[in-house]
């Protein structure tokens, strides 16, 4: 049997077949990653990491400069409702992607220390596209009546090409769902230069409603993306300082004296396989 299938100097046919298969797969997956747009809103075929090479970092830096001038024009006027209820208590809604896993633990520490409360929603793998094409945020606002919303969306779309053209409408839809509820959008903790997600968000929400997480340094888990528990706690500490001093709608955020390690009430939504 072996002899019959030997071809070309004794190499069996399957060897060439598998070599061709590997080359074909490389071409197929690379082409899809480099040249094809996202297929649909509900389900996307994920792309090989080669997609990141389609972006030239220097172009990102150029777009950053252009976007800076636009940021100034973003809506800065505070027309929002009060960040506290009639008893002076803040009710947080922390909603976003998997980055909330550890942020929620530390935010809960702040809630305990300041006599606030919170509700968390984690939608694994979600991007502005999922949140921007659904009424998920509006639903949870209606359900839990938060007085302050913290959004953590963007980590799963650092390398989307032409993101500003493709996803600005989603960001607008997200902001629309928030209505008059005060909010701060916590940007993604970049591990590599992004293709414009940070600029896109800050342009649409304004600097005083945007916490630029990428300027911080993180210790990360082995996936290279998620900050460690300790690092995420420090991240939340920085967000708290921003909320107290720099946010459009500031609130008091007295640092907790210890970590309570308590998980707040959380809804976990099905992982997005994008």
């Amino acid at each position: 049997m072996a002899k019959n299938s030997q071809r070309r100097n004794g190499i069996p046919r399957p060897y060439w077949g598998y070599l061709a298969l590997l080359i074909g797969s490389l071409v197929l997956f690379s082409s899809y990653a480099l040249f094809f747009e996202d297929t649909s809103v509900d389900f996307d075929l994920k792309k090989m990491s080669v997609a990141k090479y389609a972006v030239d970092d220097t172009l990102c830096q150029d777009s950053l400069k252009i976007m800076d001038s636009l940021v100034a024009e973003a809506q800065q006027e505070d027309t929002t409702q009060s960040p506290t209820d009639s008893t002076g208590k803040v009710h947080f809604l922390l909603i976003g992607d998997s980055m909330n896993e550890y942020l929620r633990i530390r935010l809960n520490d702040y809630c305990i220390a300041n006599d606030y409360d919170m509700y968390c929603v984690i939608w694994y793998g979600a991007t502005t596209k999922q949140y921007g094409t659904s009424d998920t945020i509006a639903y949870f606002i209606n359900e839990h009546k938060p007085t302050y919303v913290l959004l953590t969306i963007g980590s799963n779309e650092l390398f989307v090409r032409d993101i500003i053209e493709k996803r600005t409408d989603y960001v607008k839809h997200i902001v629309k769902q928030l209505g008059r509820t005060p909010f701060v959008w916590v940007g993604p903790p970049n591990w590599k230069e992004d293709t414009g997600i940070n600029e896109m968000i800050v342009t649409n929400v304004g600097k005083s409603r945007y916490f630029e997480s990428k300027k911080l340094k993180y210790n990360r888990y082995k996936d290279g993306a998620h900050p460690t528990r300790e690092s995420a706690a420090m991240w939340m500490d920085s967000i708290a300082v921003f909320l107290q001093n720099d946010a459009l709608t500031p609130i008091e955020m007295t640092p907790p004296e210890k970590s309570y390690k308590k998980v707040p009430h959380t809804t976990i939504l099905q992982m997005v396989r994008e």
Binding site: M1, A2, S5, Q6, N9, G10, I11, P12, R13, P14, Y15, W16, G17, Y18, L19, L21, L22, I23, G24, S25, L26, L28, F29, L34, L45, K46, K47, M48, S49, V50, Y53, A54, V55, D56, D57, S98, E101, Y102, I105, G125, N156, W191, Y221, K222, D223, G224, A225, H226, T228, R229, K261, K262, V263, I268, Q270, M271, R273
Partner: protein, 487 residues
């Protein structure tokens, strides 16, 4: 298209992105290797030279400058072994002692210096500042190969390899270089002397193993790790039921991660005409702890048996010494996994477990094995003993490990089961799938393998492409390193 960055990422060492079998970079390099190998594999010298050069490049991509350490150590062991093989008597023993000192000295410095320093300073009551020593990837694996080669030559069980290139190729062959299996010179070097025959069956089987390995590592292990990592990092934050799921999840994860890697390594070897042996044989089906260690990381457990347990006296010096030897062997086996007390505890407890198992087998004269119920009980106890000890293996400290255990016993509630299944659907599904794959009897698995080989090529191509797309769909962000890289 940023070609400069692409080429840089493929060919230059990046500490944050070691070259892994399941990465885009390895796919590109794999094509180059298979292409060139097809052209040179029939001529011994070019073939060995090419694979040796690529293996060094592969190691450079995972460990950078430490490739020089690898080269230096293997040259030193080669020269010393050659010298040792030419002499007899007491001096021969001294040369072996020299080789062992060199290999363990290098391993000890890079792997255990901080651990020893930390404990020494603790004993004398002074503060210790960690030395800035990086651990070269795979040093434990290649050190054990170097030692087994030298010891086999010393014992006269193997003739020293005169051809430096063959010897260096045996140590560095890239599929097994950084995470095993720990291949013995006795079984590998003779393969280099023979003409390499690539036959259809072995090539097909090799590719099947690579796909199995990819599935186990990149789908099962990597996905399960996302949840397990969360719980192990913050055990107090999860209920007892969720914590227990992460503990079982880790048992599946480490098996799929490590056996997946070795499946890929063995598969690559087969595609190039080399046999690297087997390293796992459905370990969670074991009905006793002794049985478990005959099925788990076989190349390490047989190494420890041949070069540690038997030289210590094995079972030839009475009952007490047998148990003591088992304990010492496993204790050092634990230390091999990492410079940390938790690994020593893990190994020591396995040693105690093996001793108890031996006593039990002696007391019952193995008669209980005839009873189905006793086999089921044996399987259940073995599995849970192993899973229990994985907690210490995985947790970042004893405190975390005990916190996990306390959480399981103090806040366990079955009411979490439906909620867990609802919110972690994919986790549950992959756990069930992993258990089902592991439960398939070997004979049936062989039939699956043969059925795959008989399948038309276009079906295999579709399966492979679907597998790659599933891996892309499931991975969280960057590729997860293999667990055993750290050892």
């Amino acid at each position: 298209m940023n070609f400069k960055e692409l080429l840089h990422d493929i060919f230059v060492y990046r500490p944050e992105a070691p070259l892994l079998f399941n990465s885009f970079e390895f796919l590109v390099l794999g094509i180059l290797v298979l292409g060139v190998y097809a052209a040179v594999y029939r001529q011994k010298r070019p073939r060995t030279l090419f694979l040796f050069a690529f293996s060094l490049f592969f190691y450079y991509k995972t460990s950078g400058i430490f490739v020089l350490l690898l080269l230096g150590t293997l040259v030193a062991v080669y020269l010393m072994t050659r010298r040792m093989s030419r002499i007899e008597g007491r001096e021969r023993k001294w040369w072996l002692a020299g080789i062992v000192t060199v290999v363990l000295g290098v391993l000890g410095y890079f792997k255990y210096a901080n651990f020893l320093g930390e404990n020494f300073f603790w004993l004398i009551g002074k503060e210790f500042h960690h030395w800035d020593i990086l651990l070269p990837v795979g040093i434990s694996f290649y050190s054990f190969q170097l030692l087994s080669y030298a010891i086999d030559v010393y014992r006269g069980e193997l003739e020293e390899e005169k051809d430096f290139l063959d010897y260096a190729f045996y140590i560095t062959f890239f599929p097994q270089l950084v995470a095993g299996p720990i291949v013995r010179a006795k079984s590998f070097l003779p393969q280099l002397k023979k003409e390499i025959v690539l036959n259809r069956f072995e090539v097909e089987k090799g590719f099947f193993l690579i796909m199995m390995g990819l599935f186990k590592k990149s789908i099962l292990a990597d996905y399960l790790s996302q949840y397990n990592d969360l719980v192990f990092a913050n055990p107090g934050a999860y209920s007892g039921f969720e914590t227990l799921m992460a503990i079982y999840g880790y048992a599946i994860q480490i098996y799929c991660d490590f056996s997946g890697y070795t499946d890929m390594a063995i598969g690559m070897g087969k595609m190039m005409g080399f046999d690297l042996g087997i390293n796992f044989n459905k370990p969670y089906q074991s009905t006793s702890l002794t049985d478990f260690w005959r099925r788990w990381h076989i190349s390490l457990s047989s190494w420890l048996r041949d070069y540690l347990y038997i030289p210590l006296g094995g079972n030839r010096k009475g009952k007490f010494r047998t148990y003591l030897n088992l304990f010492i062997t496993m204790l050092l086996g634990g230390l091999w996994h990492g410079a940390n007390w938790k690994f020593i505890f893990w190994g020591g407890m396995h040693g105690v477990g093996l001793a108890v198992d031996k006593i039990w087998q002696k007391a019952t004269k193995g008669r209980l094995r005839d009873y189905r119920l006793a086999r089921i009980a044996g399987w259940f106890i073995t599995l849970h003993f192993v899973v229990f000890l994985w907690i210490f293996f995985r947790a970042d400290s004893f405190t975390t490990a005990w916190e996990m255990i306390a959480q399981v016993f103090s806040s366990f509630d079955w009411a979490y089961l439906p909620v867990f299944c609802q919110t972690r659907k994919l986790f549950v599904l992959l756990m069930v799938l992993a258990v089902a794959i592991h439960a398939i009897p070997s004979a049936k698995f062989d039939r699956v393998e043969k059925a795959y080989i008989r399948t038309p090529f276009w079906v295999k191509a579709v399966v492979f492409i679907l597998l790659i797309q599933c891996i892309l769909q499931i991975k969280s962000s960057d590729v997860q390193p293999f667990i055993y890289f750290q050892f």
